[in-house]
């Protein structure tokens, strides 16, 4: 297992809905827990993954995610079981869309 942490500043979109979880921790899949949190305007992402050694790819996928949504004061926690980057992006978008009520 490997734990990765990312923190993005300069987000503008704040979420107000209660915490949501999407996805399932199964092979090639992941769960994304998204919740509002007072983080001085930042969006933090903590990933626990069964696939060790993919830090640079996670960093790129998370950077893209932040550029898409520009979340602020949001904590995202991920339990991953070897999901591909495309699946990760889809699940994270699904999590945000669920929070925004248009999933």
């Amino acid at each position: 297992m490997e734990t990765l942490n990312y923190r993005f500043e300069q987000g503008t979109r704040r979420l107000t809905a209660p915490p949501e979880v999407v996805g399932v921790v199964g092979s090639g899949n992941l769960e994304v827990l998204i919740e509002p949190a007072a983080l001085d305007g930042a969006c933090t992402i903590e990933i626990t993954t069964a696939a060790v050694g993919f830090g640079p790819i996670w960093a790129a996928v998370m950077r893209d995610f932040h550029q898409r949504w520009l979340l602020a004061d949001t904590r995202i926690s991920i339990n991953d079981m070897g999901a591909t980057p495309a699946v990760v992006s889809l699940r994270m978008d699904q999590a945000v869309q669920t929070m925004l009520g248009d999933a």
Partner: protein, 300 residues
């Protein structure tokens, strides 16, 4: 987005949203509380924020019930220490709060072997809590329609309930197909023979054998209606185990063993039960099947 209507294809959380009155499910210990397994991390294995089960209160056709749904996608729905404790807590709280029923959406391979004794104890505590709930007047309804079925300890838990509702696609047994093949050889049971696996453990055979009380199509609304009717049937009735009921069950099992114990294949059993066109039973739609089974099934 169109609603998924298959029960089997839905996740545990989708089932809770679609089976109960819209928006009524209110979770106890939601994922944001991060009550996770204390064992999996030590084994360097992935955890889930809900430990693979969601528990809470919900409304079913306007009736307040407690509900739990196991997520088959996470470790096959296997029961670890926390997972089991959440089920036990739900059943105990159901007694304190005197709810109309507890509806368990079971999908599990049984004990989570990673958690060894803690998992085994957890499952036995679930059985005890379930029987305590019944004794205290709270009926327990189990739905089995997920692709992982109800096996091992959760197979036993399922049979402790007042009513078991299954789809043909749902499976219910003690040892799973691979376990039987590993222990007794492929001549005894070929776990890759899917038709044999479903003939032996699927909803139709369980219904004919008297192991489940209702069979429905793999459809969310059909499961919902069956659960609703099962809860309504216990209004004002005692769901407690009685000595008479246990004696009757024992007689049914004795009779089953003496009539069918020597037969090798479920088709032989269905033939012995005088089911018409026994070999074609897996092809019947659920309504024709129920009609054909009406007078012939065990416990009818």
């Amino acid at each position: 987005m169109s609603r998924i209507s298959s029960y089997q294809e839905a996740s545990a959380r989708e089932r809770l949203q679609q089976l109960f009155d819209p928006g009524s499910f209110e979770e106890f210990l939601p994922p944001s509380q991060r009550v996770i397994s204390p064992h999996l991390g030590q084994l360097n294995a992935p955890v889930a924020f809900d430990d693979g089960v969601a528990v809470g209160r919900a409304m079913l056709g306007g009736v307040a019930v407690y509900a739990a749904a196991q997520e088959g996608g996470f470790m096959g729905g296997a029961v670890g220490e926390v997972h089991g404790a959440k089920l036990v807590g739900l059943l105990r709280r159901a007694v304190v709060d005197k709810v109309a029923a507890v509806v368990l959406l079971v999908e599990s391979g049984g004990v989570r072997l990673h958690e060894a004794n803690a998992g085994l104890i957890a499952v036995s505590e679930v059985m005890r809590a379930l029987l305590d709930a019944r004794a205290a007047g709270v009926p327990v309804i189990v739905l089995v329609g997920g692709s992982n079925g109800a096996f091992g300890g959760m197979g036993i838990v399922t049979r402790c309930a007042n009513v078991v509702v299954m789809s043909e696609e749902g499976r219910l047994a003690m040892s799973g197909p691979e376990v039987i093949e590993t222990a007794n050889g492929v001549e005894e049971f070929d776990s890759r023979d899917r038709a044999l696996v479903w003939r032996s453990t699927g909803g139709k055979h369980r219904y004919l054998m008297g192991d489940c009380q209702r069979i429905v199509a793999d459809d969310m609304q059909a499961f919902r209606a069956a659960a609703q009717e099962a809860v309504a049937a216990y209004a004002g009735q005692s769901p407690a185990l009685t000595l008479e009921a246990l004696d009757a069950e024992q007689r049914m099992l004795d009779d089953r063993l003496s009539r069918f114990g020597a037969l090798r294949d479920p088709i032989d059993i269905w033939t012995a039960m005088h089911m018409p066109d026994a070999a074609d039973i897996p092809m019947l739609d659920v309504d024709s099947f129920i009609a054909a089974a009406a007078t012939r099934r065990q416990g009818a």
